[in-house]
Subunit: 312 residues, 2 copies
C-alpha cells in the first residue's frame, strides 16, 4: 500500500447561487482519495450504509481506489450532509447533518492497510485518529486534518494526536485557534513545538503556506474567475498533496513544496463544479498544465539589488 | 527627476496594544518617499503648515527626498490623523482626522517636477490626481492609489482618472468595490478594461497580486512574528515598488515582478516599528537579505509530473 485515508464517505446535498445537487458522493475520504488516485495507489478506511449504491462504488473503482476497508452496514444509512453557500461563497451554512452509520465509526484496518507507507487521518474525532496512528508504527509519513469542533470539545486529545503525526494540514483559522495565538507565524511555531515536523496551512483564495522548524514556503491560489462549489476543496488539496508525495521516493522539503502545488492544482479543479464532478474527469495533461501555470504565476528573477545611479 | 509623489504629509498619532506615539511624521507621501529613497531620486508634492518643523524636514533631507514642491503655509496647521489598533491589528479605528491645510490642497508642480519619468498619485481626491496626470504628458509610467471614500463619493471622476494612468495600486477590498464585482479576477479584468496596463492588488498579510491583460503574478507577504504598527504599509509598499522601477531602464513585466518583491520587503520593515522609524534606519544589505528570503520562500522545482508506477 502507498497511501491510506481514514475519513468520511457521505452523501452531500449542496445549494449554491449557481445550482443544486440533492445527493452526490462527498465526505473527506471521497474527495481525498479521488484526487490522490491521479498520483498513486490509495485505499479508503470508512463506513457507509446499505443505501451506498453501485454508482458510488463505481466512482471509486474507476479511479482504482481500494475500498477493501470501506465497511458497509447494510441496515444503516450513509452519513448525509446538506449545506448552502451564499453568493459570496466564503459564507456557508450547514442545513443538516445526519451522522447515521458514521456516528459509531470505528476505523478497522486490514493487515494490508497497516503496511501503508503514507496515511492521512481525515477530520474525525482525535481519539479515533490516534487509534489509527498507533496501528501504523512503520508508516513513513502520517498527516492529519481537524476542525473547530474538535479544537473546542476535545482539545487535549487533539493535541496528543498532533504530537504523534508528522504533518498537520489545517486551515488558517484552525491553526490560530488550536495554538490560541492570533499571529499565524507564532501559531505555527507553537504547533511544530508539539512534535510534527511540518505544518501546512490552507488559506482558501489566498493560497497555502508551509512551516517547518527551519523553512517557510508560501504559494498563492490558482486564480479562478468562477468558483462554483467549494465543498471538499480542503480534502482535495490534501489528496493531491499526499498523492503526489506517495509517488516520490524522497519525502524531503523539495517534494513537499511540489506537493503543495499539486494539492492547489487539484483543489482549483474541485471548486469549478459540484462535488467531485470536475476532478473525476481530469486528465494528467490538465494537471500538468496548471502546475506549469503556477510556475509562471510565481516566478521572478533573482537579481541582486543595485541602487540606481542618481540622475542629474 | 526620476520619481514624483503627490500625497499627504501629516502628523500621525497612533495607539497600538504595544505602545503609542503622539506626533510622528506620517501621510502617504512621507511613507512613500522615504521607502523610494533607497532606490532612486524622489520628489514630494504636498502641503504642510507652520508647525512642520526642522526635525521632520531633516528626515526628508537625510533621505535625499526633494521637498522643492512641498508647499508651506506658515499660518496653517499640518494634516493630523489619529488612530487606534486593536490586538488584532487588522481592526483599526480612526479617532480623529484634522485635514487643516490639506483640505485646500492644490498640487503645484514646478517645471522640474513636470519632467519626471515616473509618478505616483497618492490617495487624494481623483480630480486633483487627474489634474496632476495632465501635467505629466511625457511620464513613462504614472500610478495611482485610492480609497473607499473616493469610490463611494466620486466614482465617475475616479474612473476617469483610472482611465488615464498606467498602473493602479490598490487593496483587495478596493479592487472589488471599484469594479462592483466580488470575484477578484473578474474585478481585475474590468479595471484593466478601463485603460491601465497593470493592476497591483495589495492583500496585507496575504501578500500581493499583479494583473496585466496577459499575465498574473502573485506573492505571499513576508512572514512576521510581530506586527507593531501597520500605518503606512500600503504607501511604503508602493514606495519600494515605484522606487525600484525608477531605478530600472526597462519597465517591463520582469521589472514589475521584482518591484513587487521590493515593495513587499519595504512594507515588511515598515510594520515592525511605529511610523517610518524602522524604514528610516534601513540598510541596503537588510533590504537585499529580505529579497533573497522571498526567493527562498517561493521557490519550487519545475518538475514534469510523472504518475508513479503502481506498487505491487
Amino acid at each position: 500500500m502507498s497511501l491510506l485515508v481514514v475519513g468520511s464517505v457521505a452523501f452531500d446535498a449542496v445549494e449554491t447561487p449557481f445550482g443544486k445537487r440533492d445527493r452526490m458522493l462527498g465526505g473527506s475520504a471521497s474527495h481525498f482519495s479521488i484526487a490522490a488516485s491521479f498520483f498513486t495507489d490509495v485505499r479508503v478506511v470508512g463506513v457507509v450504509g446499505g443505501d451506498f449504491g453501485k454508482s458510488e462504488s463505481e466512482v471509486f473503482d474507476r479511479h482504482n481506489v481500494d475500498t477493501t476497508d470501506l465497511e458497509i452496514i447494510p441496515e444503516g444509512k450513509t452519513f448525509r450532509w446538506s449545506g448552502r453557500y451564499e453568493y459570496d461563497l466564503n459564507v456557508a451554512h450547514t442545513l443538516e447533518t445526519q451522522l447515521n452509520v458514521f456516528a459509531g465509526f470505528q476505523p478497522k484496518l486490514s493487515d494490508g492497510s497497516k503496511k501503508t507507507r503514507l496515511a492521512f487521518l481525515g477530520n474525525i474525532q482525535p481519539d479515533l485518529q490516534r487509534g489509527v496512528r498507533e496501528q501504523l508504527p512503520n508508516a513513513e509519513l502520517v498527516a492529519l486534518d481537524t476542525m473547530n469542533l474538535w479544537i473546542e470539545t476535545t482539545r487535549d486529545s487533539l493535541q496528543k494526536t498532533i504530537e504523534v503525526v508528522d504533518l498537520v494540514i489545517i486551515n488558517d483559522a484552525e491553526a490560530r485557534q488550536v495554538a490560541d495565538e492570533p499571529n499565524l507565524i507564532k501559531a505555527a511555531r507553537k504547533i511544530l513545538s508539539w512534535g510534527p515536523k511540518t505544518l501546512i496551512v490552507k488559506r482558501g483564495e489566498y493560497g497555502a503556506a508551509m512551516f517547518t522548524k527551519d523553512a517557510y514556503f508560501a504559494i498563492p491560489a490558482y486564480p479562478l474567475e468562477a468558483v462554483f462549489d467549494p465543498t471538499g476543496a480542503g480534502d482535495t488539496f490534501a489528496g493531491g498533496l499526499m498523492g503526489y508525495l506517495a509517488s516520490q521516493d524522497k519525502l524531503d522539503e523539495a517534494a513537499l513544496r511540489r506537493a503543495m502545488i499539486f494539492g492547489s492544482v487539484m483543489a482549483s479543479f474541485n471548486v469549478e463544479e459540484f462535488g467531485t464532478e470536475r476532478v473525476q474527469r481530469l486528465t494528467h495533461e490538465e494537471i500538468n498544465q496548471r502546475f506549469r501555470d503556477f510556475k509562471r504565476f510565481t516566478h521572478f528573477e533573482e537579481i541582486p539589488f543595485q541602487k540606481a545611479e542618481r540622475a542629474v
